[in-house]
Symmetry: C2
Subunit: 214 residues, 2 copies
Amino acid sequence: MKRSNISENVIHRLPRYLRKLEDLAAKGEKRISSEKLGQQMGLTPSQIRQDFSCFGEFGQQGYGYNIDSLSKEIGHILGTYQDYSAILVGAGNLGGALIKNLDFIIEGYRFLGAFDVKPELIGTDIAGFPVYDYATVADFIRENKVDIAILTVPKDMAQAVTENITGAGIRAIWNFTNKELDVGDSGALVENIHFSDSLLVLTYHLSEKDEERK
Amino acid sequence: MKRSNISENVIHRLPRYLRKLEDLAAKGEKRISSEKLGQQMGLTPSQIRQDFSCFGEFGQQGYGYNIDSLSKEIGHILGTYQDYSAILVGAGNLGGALIKNLDFIIEGYRFLGAFDVKPELIGTDIAGFPVYDYATVADFIRENKVDIAILTVPKDMAQAVTENITGAGIRAIWNFTNKELDVGDSGALVENIHFSDSLLVLTYHLSEKDEERK
């Protein structure tokens, strides 16, 4: 596989492709044409062919794509077989809900546990995973070479926690704090979840409809 | 403002622009050039000029954009001043955490309350908002002309709930169930939150780094 020259736009479409292909596989489908895939995803066939050509050849003219091998390859490209380790930092409402609801965190990663400052949470467990004292998080990251921190601390703690965990060698932060994080020269990767963005897109389309009615 | 011909890609960038401009305004900035804005957002100046030109003229050659009027206009385009009403359907861990953590839901919308089937939740409140019996949700939507449902029910309930609330006239669903919803011919809008997508993007970049090391 060649990763070079894959644009951020393509990378952001890969998880969508993966979801779609897994849905199709679950329905027993074996092959799909770029035309049909495009129809179902709201993309043009040429865009799909272009996206997939970025990382090799999967289609055969006139036969479409082999769903199974294409989804495996996209999974490989996305790093889903790397067994990365993850911890939750901030075991409050949102963090707890994520771990309880999002099976893919538990299934797709080596989830090692949660950290919090609250005495009443420390020593308990969330969905079977231990909640440790936040004071020990830096040592834990160093000892276990933790790859990913899921950051669900309050906004005003976000930067201080970021400095602590990047200093200990965390490699990536999945950031739910709605605060822009400065990782200094640690080289840590950050992916931000901005819930509000998708709600605003919905509101945009609602008000677009309202206008059409006028 | 003209909404026609605004591509989905531009629409999805608008919330990011809005966040950035609000950050700049909070720092006391008054104007910004497309060059500086592009640097800070990882976009080219020409892309920014093109995006903003879709909905009118905000920049003045050599003077940059007026941050305050540009962010107001983007807010208008996104429909943030429309006072849409919203309810939560599914008052479990995730739904409860969203309402407790995401102030913008409460601030930007007329949030009317939550619905659940669990007897132990009905009659309680979440962050000061009442939890009603799910059996009454259709009547509530009709009587209050509710615009948006935040859907946080279990995956296997998602489609039945969708049919119930679209039948009652809900106009938009903000879907956290990780299940593709069929809204039939109701015309309801759906915006899906797929947490896993952004974690996969993070994993992609992690494995890209691992490969560079080899």
